[in-house]
């Protein structure tokens, strides 16, 4: 049970972090470098999962993706498959909960890149895409990595929305935080402790490694 929770958590969190990294950076770029009317409104909506209690977010996810949900009912009708109580749901929950953190970090990191550098790139004949990947992204990378690390940590510890959308099914959707909780409640303190230690060590290791990488460019 312990190892299945560990492996499941790693799988879920890796995928969630990847999704969050890509989508969070994309929206962060949109908010940082583009002007449009509903901009701050969009920012508020994207920040919601961070501000609402996880259970409320989980509730909205079920409302959307459950078998009778606004979106879920069509998926169920067409494929007979519902995302609720699957490991994919755990990925969705973790992604949604970590997403606002990444968007905020990305917006700040990309926004701090002097837009004159982008202007220079255009004057040298490069397009938007190339400019983003060769100039904006490298200059924002520190902030983006920091955002990724925070998102990873958030995804790893995600409990509330996961429990609601994915349920607590050992081997299938029981991530480490859920396993710790269950072990504790059922009196299995040793198992709870063991899992907690693994979770802590993993988190510290990832954060340490990432910090090493992102600070390797610093001089004394």
């Amino acid at each position: 049970m312990i190892w299945s929770a560990f492996k499941l958590s790693l799988r879920v969190v890796s995928l969630a972090t990847l999704l969050v990294g890509v989508t969070g950076t994309a929206f962060g770029f949109l908010l940082a470098k583009r002007e449009f009317r509903a901009k701050e409104l969009l920012d508020s909506v994207l920040t919601l999962p961070m501000v609402l209690p996880p259970t409320v977010t989980g509730y909205y996810l079920i409302l959307l993706l459950g078998r009778r949900g606004w979106l879920g009912r069509y998926i169920y009708r067409m494929t007979g498959w519902s995302v609720a109580f699957t490991w994919e749901a755990a990925v969705i929950a973790a992604t949604v909960m970590a997403f606002p953190i990444m968007v905020k970090s990305a917006r700040a990191a990309i926004g701090s890149v002097d837009s004159r550098y982008e202007m220079v790139s255009f004057s040298l004949g490069k397009g938007e895409f190339e400019t983003f990947f060769r100039v904006t992204l490298p200059l924002a990378i520190r902030g983006l990595v920091a955002g990724l690390v925070l998102s990873f940590a958030r995804a790893l510890g995600e409990f509330g929305a996961t429990l609601m959308l994915a349920g607590n099914i050992p081997g299938k959707t029981q991530t480490m935080p859920l396993a710790i909780y269950e072990a504790f409640i059922s009196g299995d303190d040793r198992e709870a402790q063991f899992l907690a230690v693994i979770l802590t060590v993993t988190s510290v290791a990832v954060i340490y490694l990432t910090n090493l990488l992102s600070h390797s460019g610093d001089r004394a």
């Binding site: 220079v120 255009f122 004057s123 004949g125």
Partner: protein, 361 residues
């Protein structure tokens, strides 16, 4: 041949607006766009480059139309092939000097491109900066790399926006020379924006004077700077002393008249202005000579006694304000100040040639 004709209006929050309305053509190799800060020079450059979109007008380089409001045409920046050098070099901080210069280069094999970069940097004498990052370079080195980067992309036009402003005094002169050399070598038209009159004169085949959003005069640099036509232009080119007075007496055979400034009088070269006519003249601060003693055996038609009011250092010069009944701004070297032991309160004599007093309309 670059033809520029456009209008753009800027509104700020206070309801005030600044209108830029210019029309000129650039036929020369090294053109200077001169004017005080806020006159719109940078906006003109940015409009040519495509950073700023004018409200109306047309901008074209030869038969390539960059902007035409009547045809609703606006070529995006990246297709205009315009090189840009800024006041702060804006070199990409995460790339080495070599990578920076390589950035804008188009097709070609890697090895050839690298070779070209080395040649360019060598021309500037900064080959040693190849592997270094911008933060490790001096201001002058950065600007050279920036110019190399702009040239490497083989543009049709190079725009320089006050490239020397942030460079230290000792490097400026050399760098200015190198800019001129690079222009000659590359044979690409350069447009150089500056608010420094000396730079404009030293590095310009043609100068356009900009003031409050309009071109007020254009011509050969020496002519324009030494003979401003109007008060407005005089202010624009930095004539520090502008006085309004009344003609006292008519010119004799030598074409000199006396101008009454109430607190003092000046001999100026007018022609045929009747006594009693109001007139305005301008005198550049650098054209006034300062003496410690009253010298009478000189060719200068004006000798005014005055007291030094203030002294303000300005680079290698010192700007003095001397009260001769009317305040005169005088610019002399700091060495001169020292050897004459000048200080506020000192009594001095100002020597001014009649021909240094330009008539302004």
């Amino acid at each position: 041949m670059l033809s520029v004709n456009f209008q753009k209006e800027f509104r700020n929050g206070g309801g005030r607006s600044f209108k830029l309305d210019v029309a000129f053509t650039v036929n020369h190799a090294l053109t200077v766009l001169f004017g005080p800060s806020g006159s719109g020079k940078t906006t003109i450059l940015r409009s040519i480059a495509g950073v700023v979109v004018p409200d109306s007008g047309k901008i074209a380089l030869g038969d390539r139309v960059y902007f035409d409001s009547s045809a609703r045409l606006n070529v995006p920046m990246r297709h205009r092939e315009v090189g840009f050098v800024f006041q702060d070099s804006l070199l990409f901080p995460h790339l080495t000097a070599e990578a920076n210069v390589l950035y804008g280069m188009k097709s070609g094999k890697d090895r050839e491109k690298r070779k070209r970069v080395q040649e360019l940097l060598d021309l500037f004498g900064i080959l040693h900066t190849l592997e270094r990052f911008p933060r490790e370079l001096s201001g002058g080195e950065q600007q050279r790399v920036a110019l190399a980067r702009a040239l490497a992309s083989q543009p049709a036009l190079v725009l320089l926006d006050e490239p020397l402003s942030a460079v230290d005094v000792s490097t400026r002169s050399r760098l200015l020379q190198e800019i001129v050399e690079m222009q000659r070598r590359s044979n690409i038209p350069f447009i150089h924006v500056t608010h420094n009159a000396t730079d404009a004169v030293r590095a310009g085949d043609w100068v356009l004077i900009l003031d409050q959003g309009r071109i007020v005069q254009e011509g050969l640099p020496l002519e324009v700077f030494n003979s401003p036509h109007s008060v407005r232009l005089a202010r624009a080119v930095g004539t520090e002393n502008i006085f309004a007075g009344t003609v006292l007496s008519q010119s004799g055979d030598d074409g000199i008249s006396l101008l009454d400034l109430k607190a003092c009088q000046l001999a100026v070269s007018f022609n045929g202005l009747a006594p009693g006519t109001p007139a305005t003249i301008g005198i550049r601060a650098e054209d006034i000579i300062v003496c410690r003693e009253r010298i009478t055996q000189t060719s200068a038609r004006n000798l005014l006694q005055g007291i030094v009011k203030t002294m303000i250092p300005d680079g290698s010069k010192m700007e003095l304000v001397v009260d001769c009944g009317v305040d005169f701004k005088v610019s002399i070297t700091r060495q001169a100040v020292m050897s004459l032991s000048l200080q506020p309160g000192a009594v001095v004599y100002l020597l001014i040639k009649a021909s240094a007093c330009h008539t302004l309309s």
